[in-house]
Symmetry: C2
Subunit: 216 residues, 2 copies
C-alpha cells in the first residue's frame, strides 16, 4: 500500500450517519477526496455485515479507494475486500496474514508506545495511533497520545502511520505536521452535514501539510 493511501482515511459508523444511507455517505466522501475506507460495524450479524460489505465494495469499484474491514477476516474474505484493520484484541497479525495472503492490506491499531515498537516486528501495512484525542466514538481506548505522543510514535515506528481519535478540520493539519501520513476520521465525515464538502476540506488541509513536508 502506498503511504499516500493513508492521507484521508474514513472509518464508518452507521449510527453516526444521521440516518443517511452508508453507501451514499461513503461515495460523497470519496468524491471529496477520501483515500481509504474502513467498514467498522460492531452490532451487525455476520450476514448483514457481509451484505453491507458487498454493497460498499460495489459502490467503490473503479474508484481506486481500497475497502478494509474492521476485525472480521471472515467478512473480508467473503466480500474480497482489500484488507482488514485489526486491533490488539482482534485476530493476531500473523494469523490474519496467513489467512489473507501477502497482497491484502493489514493495518493495526497501536494504543501504547510499547505497541508502536512491537508493531515494528510485524509486516503490517500501516499502524493507526489510537487515540490521538479521546472521543465518544470509541470508548474502549487507553490514554490519548496527544500531538506529542503522535510525534514520538512517528519517530519510533517504521510503518506508514495515521492518527485516529478526535481528528477533524481543527486537528488534522497539526497531526500531519507531527509526522503522520494521514488521519482517520469517523464523525468528522460521517456526521458532517455535507460529507463531500467535509472530506474536500479535510483533504485540502492534509495535502497542504504533506506538501510542506515534501518541500521543506
Amino acid at each position: 500500500m502506498k503511504r499516500e493511501t493513508l492521507a484521508l482515511y474514513l472509518v464508518t459508523d452507521r449510527g453516526l450517519a444521521l440516518g443517511r444511507d452508508l453507501e451514499t455517505v461513503v461515495l460523497q466522501a470519496v468524491k471529496g477526496g477520501v483515500t481509504l475506507v474502513q467498514l467498522r460495524e460492531k452490532d451487525l450479524d455476520t450476514r448483514e455485515f457481509i451484505a453491507l460489505g458487498q454493497r460498499l465494495k460495489a459502490a467503490l469499484a473503479g474508484s481506486g479507494v481500497p475497502l478494509l474491514i474492521n476485525d472480521r477476516v471472515d467478512v473480508a474474505l467473503a466480500v474480497d475486500a482489500d484488507g482488514v484493520h485489526i486491533g490488539q484484541s482482534d485476530m493476531p497479525y500473523e494469523i490474519a496474514r496467513r489467512l489473507l495472503g501477502p497482497d491484502k492490506i493489514i493495518g493495526l491499531s497501536v494504543e501504547t508506545m510499547d505497541e508502536v515498537v512491537e508493531a515494528n516486528a510485524l509486516d503490517v501495512d500501516y499502524v493507526a495511533v489510537s487515540p490521538v484525542f479521546s472521543t465518544n466514538t470509541k470508548t474502549d481506548t487507553l490514554a490519548p497520545f496527544g500531538y506529542e505522543g503522535l510525534r514520538r510514535a512517528r519517530a519510533l515506528s517504521r510503518h506508514p502511520l495515521c492518527g485516529i481519535g478526535g481528528m477533524n478540520a481543527a486537528t488534522a493539519g497539526q497531526a500531519v505536521a507531527c509526522g503522520a501520513d494521514g488521519v482517520a476520521v469517523v464523525s468528522a465525515i460521517v456526521s458532517a452535514p455535507d460529507p463531500y464538502l467535509a472530506s474536500k476540506n479535510l483533504k485540502s488541509i492534509i495535502d497542504n501539510e504533506l506538501d510542506k513536508r515534501r518541500l521543506g
Copy 2:
C-alpha cells in the same frame, strides 16, 4: 461426516459452566460419550475466541471428536477447526463452503419448516432443528418445533438432523424416537454437577433409541 457423529452434540456456553474451566468440562463430557463439540461464544473478542478455540482443539486432539465453531469462519480457519455451525443470520452457506473448502463440516440451524426444505438445496453436513423446546439458553428463536415438528422436519429433510433446545435426559430419547440422529445440548451437560455422568447418561439414552431404530 458420519450420521453417528451427531448422536450427542455438546454446544458450549462458558456462562453456564458454573465457574468451571471450559476445557475441563468438555473433556469430561467427551469421556462420557459426547460425539461432537461446538464452541459458541458470542461475547468474546476475536483474539480470546481464537485462543479458547486453540485450547479446545488441543484438548480434543486424538479424541476423534470434531470441533466446530459457531458462526465465525475466521475463527474456524484460524484454529483449523473441523468446521462451523451457522445460523440463518450468519455467513451464507455457499460463501462459508467456498472459504472452508469441501472437507470441513458445515451445519445449519433451521428454525422453520420452510428452512428445513430450503436446506435440502444446500450441501450442508447436517441441520439442527431449533428449538425443539424453548429455553433460556437461546432467546432469539422462533416458535418451538416440539416432538411433532421434529418428526415432520425429519420426514422433510434429506440431511442428518439433530434437535436442539430443551434437550436433556427427559427429552433426548423421545427426540431420537422422532427420527433425529442425535441431540444437541448446552446446559444439560455444561451446567451438570458432573458433566461426565450427565454425558454418559444422555449417551446411553440416545444409543438405546438408536439401537431400537436399527433393530426395529
